[in-house]
């Protein structure tokens, strides 16, 4: 595993803002590209353009944001949500952001406590603070320039989070059991009052006056859907015209299929034609007729000699 825990073949998004020095950004991109290999696996995005780029959801294994040395990028709720969206389930985000240690300021910079919360609120899990560092003089300078903050209680925090392992829209059944103690067979036993009601009702089968539920109400939109027509086709639906020789073909069709020669006329003296349609080959002139006894002379009617 390379730096930042990135493995070859992964898709990585690198998010930057105007505070990131260009050279450092370029270095980072090159390094990551070397790690993951060719084929455009690295996407580079400005933090303010991220939402507009509208990357496909769940397409990145790793997102690195604000990690370029000197970056003072701040991650708003919208940006964090977008990062969560484009990450694959189980994917990882690693970001760096300056934070203040004392609350009660109105600079817009998050407190150290607020940052992990912000990630969690965006839907990321396993949020871990990796590192907290004091700023270098250059970084402090950068913060002053870009964020207009003068205080000296800043820290740079490196924090990571993960996208949960399930996709948006997935569902799983809740095991709700209205807690009946299992009977001897290991199953819940029916409450006696319930059983009595059921039995009473069942013994009154002919009562037409009973109130009935509207069964249509049980159905949801999924139930109203029809199957996709392409799913109804058999993989290779061969019609009558397929060529298949009988098991002990004596009429020459088997050879014909092997050598792919066209014979001029199907031979009607085939040894197996007397067996029913189940055994006849596709070119048999007796198709459609019942099986007959061997040696029986069958006169084909005029209309049967023509192709069906």
């Amino acid at each position: 595993m390379g730096e930042y825990g990135i493995a070859p073949g992964q898709r990585v998004a690198i998010v930057w803002d105007s505070s990131s020095p260009v050279e450092a950004l370029k270095d980072l991109v090159d390094k990551i590209q070397a790690l993951v290999g060719p084929d455009n696996r690295v996407s580079v995005e400005n933090i303010n353009q991220l939402s507009q780029s509208a990357h496909r959801e769940s397409s990145f294994d790793v997102v690195l944001s604000g990690v370029v040395a000197g970056s003072t990028a701040q991650h708003s709720a919208e940006v964090l949500a977008e990062i969560a969206r484009i990450l694959k389930p189980g994917g990882r985000v690693l970001l760096k952001e300056p934070v203040v240690t004392e609350s009660g300021n109105n600079s817009g910079i998050k407190t150290a406590a607020k940052l992990p919360t912000a990630l969690t609120l965006s839907g990321l899990v396993e949020v871990k603070e990796l590192q907290k560092e004091a700023l270098t003089p250059e970084e402090a300078q950068s913060v002053q320039e870009h964020l207009g903050y003068q205080g000296n209680d800043l820290l740079i925090v490196q924090i990571e989070g993960r996208k949960p392992n399930f996709e948006v829209g997935s569902s799983s059944q809740l095991k709700l059991s209205f807690a009946k103690r299992p009977g001897p067979s290991g199953k819940p036993s029916v409450d006696p009052a319930t059983a009595k009601l059921w039995t009473l009702s069942a013994n009154d089968m002919n009562d037409e006056e009973m109130d009935l539920l509207d069964s249509d109400e049980l159905l949801d939109s999924e139930d109203l859907k029809k199957p996709d027509p392409s799913s109804l086709r058999a993989p290779s639906c061969k019609e009558l015209g397929k060529k298949k020789a009988c098991k002990n073909c004596t009429c020459g069709l088997a050879e014909e299929l092997e050598q792919e020669k066209r014979s001029s006329q199907p031979k009607s003296a085939c040894g197996n034609c007397y067996l029913g349609d189940a055994f006849r080959c596709a070119s048999c002139p007796y198709l459609g007729m019942p099986a007959f006894k061997p040696g029986e002379k069958i006169l084909l009617k005029e209309n049967q000699l023509h192709d069906a």
Binding site: V190, T194, A202, L212, L218, P227, A278
Partner: protein, 549 residues
């Protein structure tokens, strides 16, 4: 030791869900489960709270409706007073059979799944949605779902130590054993229909043996289609009906087919037999007299003209003495062989009898006791009643087209019921047809002043003939009929009747004869042309509109 019990409950209209339920029953037996397979309305639903493992197999029919043999259960299930935790002991799964070309695709299975969940049941799998629209039919969904189901079930109820799943090579015992009576036993009298004391209103289990009064062809002889107006006498049956109701008719196989079947299987039609269930608790087949003759079984019970299902070929493969035939039969029963099977059977509409003819070495070796496992029973056919009790008391009339069409098979396909009814003639002795009446979907307004707009091309006009007769008898004049057919001179049924009613002011009639002129004219064109009148009826008259065809 935990009991290995599985209950399969089904609701089936045409027999497909029942066939699938039986399949699950067989697979359960192979996994050493004690399995019961029952129709939902035959099951005592009071016991459901005690069940631990149930598979529901339910078709959706009509407009998102449950099949007839689960209608009572359905009404029970949705009662508001059923307590939510009732089915907390139940592990269940729902297999649905439907057709996605309908808007309410598999609604019964979907609703059932959710309702049982609501009542505290624990689903083992999501609901299976078998679809007729799939190239390979419902099995495309059912096959993989069943594999997953067995995994779940065996996880809950592992095979007892030392036991394996019974292999496919081993044949399971039949549902019934067949015991021939000695040859010199006296012959039974009559057939299906015993003239017994009148009982409750006729139903599927107790049809009424109606006498056929008339059987008239109503299309010109030169017309391609043979359509009949058939009248039955229902005096003394206790049957009542109103316009829009449906008559169910139980058909039978033609004598030639019966004879051919008996010859192929080397059965003596005159032999009498009784059936005994193999497993205690299995009920005997309803509608089959005991003792019974082979002739009766093959004529009235076994549906030898139906298109055989996959389970037919699977069972047949066990009897094969011929390697070539057995391999082919096994291929047809495998998941991979379904395309071949559809091409051989379903698409050309090959009958069971024709399939048996193609496998002679196997067919002659079929043990008679497997016949009821192999071949399903003949199902009744529904026809809209085309007459009113007010106009023709003690009579039921139907308008029936004889079904006949060609597929790639050389012999044309024929409808079982329509061909049989068309072959009957009142002059030939005492012809009896088993029938009963079912409520229909259409209800005509009780209010005498509400006008009625009816659109019924072809034989779709049948229920409207009933409605018009009923309303005319009640003096109601607001009757507007749009009728369409091909040619005025060929298939304009009931022409004289309509013209008379128009003369008397009881009927406004619009006709569309599609082939009497160069361009095609259909009922919708006539509706468009007369839109002012239609609008009048709808807006000022609050007319009801009915469509059938």
């Amino acid at each position: 030791m935990v009991e290995r019990q599985l209950l399969v409950l089904f609701g089936s209209q045409t027999g497909t869900a029942e066939d699938t339920a039986e399949r699950i029953g067989r697979e359960a037996k192979r996994r050493h489960f004690q399995c019961r397979v029952e129709a939902l309305d035959s099951y005592d639903v009071a016991n459901l709270i005690n069940e631990l493992l149930v598979v529901f197999v339910c078709a959706t029919t009509g407009q998102g409706d449950p099949p007839d043999n689960m209608k009572m259960f359905w009404r029970f299930l949705f009662r508001k007073n059923l307590p939510p935790g009732s089915l907390c002991q139940l592990d269940y799964a729902v297999l649905g059979l439907g057709d996605s070309s309908y808007p309410k695709f598999n609604f019964v299975a979907k609703k059932l799944h959710k309702r049982v969940l609501q009542l505290g049941g624990n689903p083992l799998l999501p609901v299976a949605l078998g679809d007729d629209q799939h190239d390979l039919g419902p099995d495309a969904v059912v096959d993989p779902w069943l594999l997953a189901l067995w995994d779940k079930i065996l996880a809950l109820y592992p095979l007892p130590p030392g036991l394996e799943i019974i292999s496919r090579d081993v044949r399971l015992p039949p549902k019934y054993t067949l015991h021939y009576l000695p040859e010199d036993s006296p012959h039974p009298d009559g057939g299906l229909l015993q003239p017994t004391a009148p009982r409750a209103v006729p139903s599927e289990l107790h049809p009424f043996a109606a006498h056929m009064v008339s059987n008239q062809r109503v299309t010109a002889e030169s017309h391609f289609q043979d359509v009949r107006l058939i009248e039955f006498d229902i005096t003394g049956s206790g049957i009542t009906f109103s316009a829009g109701d449906v008559v169910m008719i139980q058909p039978q196989n033609c004598p030639e087919d019966v004879q051919q079947f008996c010859q192929l299987l080397r059965l003596d039609p005159d032999r009498r037999f009784v059936l005994k269930p193999t497993e205690p608790g299995t009920s005997l087949p309803a509608l089959l007299p005991q003792p019974c003759t082979i002739q009766h079984l093959v004529t009235h019970y076994l549906d030898i003209s139906c298109v055989p299902r996959r389970s037919f070929f699977e069972l047949l493969s066990y009897f094969s003495t011929n390697e070539l035939e057995r391999e082919k039969l096994q291929e047809f029963s495998s998941a991979q062989g379904q395309e071949e099977l559809y091409s051989y059977c379903n698409r050309p509409r090959r009958t069971t009898l024709e399939a048996l003819w193609d496998f002679p070495h196997t067919t002659c070796a079929i043990p008679p006791e497997y016949l009821l496992d192999l071949i399903p029973r003949i199902r009744p056919r529904a026809f809209s009643i085309a007459s009113s009790m007010l106009a023709h008391p003690d009579r039921i009339q139907i308008l029936m087209a004889v079904v006949q069409y060609k597929t790639r098979l050389s012999k044309p396909r024929r409808g079982l019921c329509s061909t049989w009814l068309a072959s009957l003639s009142p002059e030939q002795g005492d012809v009896r047809v088993p029938l009963w009446v079912k409520k229909g979907g259409m209800k005509f307004p009780a209010d005498p002043d509400t006008p009625v707009i009816m659109i019924g091309p072809g034989t779709g006009v049948a229920p409207f003939r009933a409605a018009i007769q009923e309303r005319v008898a009640q003096g109601r004049r607001g009757n507007c009929l749009f009728f369409g057919c091909r040619q005025k001179s060929k298939d304009f049924y009931c022409q004289a009747e309509w013209e008379e009613l128009v003369r008397r002011g009881f009927l406004t009639l619009f006709t569309a004869f599609s082939r009497d002129q160069e361009e095609k004219v259909y009922v919708q064109h006539r509706i468009q042309e007369n839109r002012r009148l239609v609008w009048e009826l709808l807006s000022s008259g609050s007319a009801r509109v009915y469509l059938a065809g």
